[in-house]
Symmetry: C2
Subunit: 208 residues, 2 copies
């Protein structure tokens, strides 16, 4: 290999990547905004399974864009999701990202109540009125807890991006999310992850 015989212009890499992604997505299956989110998810994962499993409620994309334009705070379940969100795009709209997983209140509340820190983090997060968008990429228990809080009228987010990954509770927690009357973006089944949650947030931020 000669060091310069590969594409190293980021814009050209991205253009070429989306050309390849486009060629694999069946035409007409998605609206243009939904397609953009799907393409960002596939770009982040190189996994075309998401063509079949990405679920976007009819009002979710507009809800996300409108929220971001107001400069809301996005709550993430992991620091990985927070790290993956494009800070330039975030700052453009005056938005913030918060992850409560290491908050001392959360750590002690989880221990005292025998729940996961991911759950305690959601309980703490909904107390703050600026926390209007939730992006859960890792912990099914975080999504379960958030669903409970919505059902108990302790929370009313403008958008929930609920894409936890895993073998215990991930599939089920995402089904419960879809049954709420809150705009959502999710993935059917076990797959998901922090990179996907961040990719969806970024897709909406770029669209705003």
């Amino acid at each position: 290999m000669n060091g310069m015989h590969f594409i190293c212009d980021p814009l050209e890499i991205e253009r070429k990547s989306f050309e390849i992604i486009d060629s694999h997505i069946p035409a007409g299956k998605f609206g243009s905004k939904e397609l953009w989110v799907l393409k960002r998810v596939i770009h982040a994962t190189a996994d075309f399974d998401y063509v079949e499993t990405l679920r976007i409620s009819h009002d979710a994309i507009d809800a996300g864009i409108n929220a971001f334009k107001k400069g809301v705070t996005i709550v993430t379940d992991t620091k990985m999701v927070a790290a993956g969100i494009n800070k330039k795009a975030l700052n453009k709209w005056g938005c913030n990202v918060k992850c409560y997983i290491d908050d001392p209140d959360v750590v002690s509340y989880a221990k005292n109540n025998c729940i996961t820190r991911s759950m305690a983090a959601m309980i703490k997060a909904v107390e703050e009125p600026d926390n209007r968008v939730f992006a859960i990429g890792n912990a099914p228990t975080a999504l379960y807890q958030l669903v409970e809080l919505v059902k108990n009228r302790k929370a009313r987010p403008e958008l929930i991006i609920g894409v936890p990954v895993g073998f215990v509770g991930a599939t089920e927690s995402k089904e419960l999310l879809k049954a709420l009357d809150i705009p959502y973006i999710t993935i059917e089944g076990r797959k998901g992850g922090s990179t996907i949650a961040a990719a969806i947030v970024n897709a909406l931020l770029y669209m705003a």
Copy 2:
């Protein structure tokens, strides 16, 4: 749903998850250390494709464990990979994580030389002798550049975890990694990602 009718003990979730993962992996295909890495990757992704595509050089796991026991610095290509590494496990061995992507030298070097910031970050990273393990989860150009630096005897890492994701250069950069005489852990094909790179680092840290 009743809030308490799901498993919310993290240890029980993990135990149950690995029981399900175990039941899907063909017996005898992997050594016990390799199997542990594979299981952590599947745990992080819920994707069994990695049974077929994870590649671990014969010396990679011991090389990683030995390096971590010396308290080395791990270089990541993205802040997401850095965020996903377990800090408690890292601190236990006196290891550090560094990501140079936002370093002002890196930003200006990339601009002046028309290369990606991911590439410039690798050029900067190899100057520091403590940087002994590299974990690349996102950018094929970072892996390309690191391979070049090894070939040009500018770098000699103890382990390269090279699992960039994508449609342009990811597959090829990972093939070039396998052709080096450096211990490696990689994924064949387009798939990979920051969550996988972090999961592999954590698997080795837990084994150390």
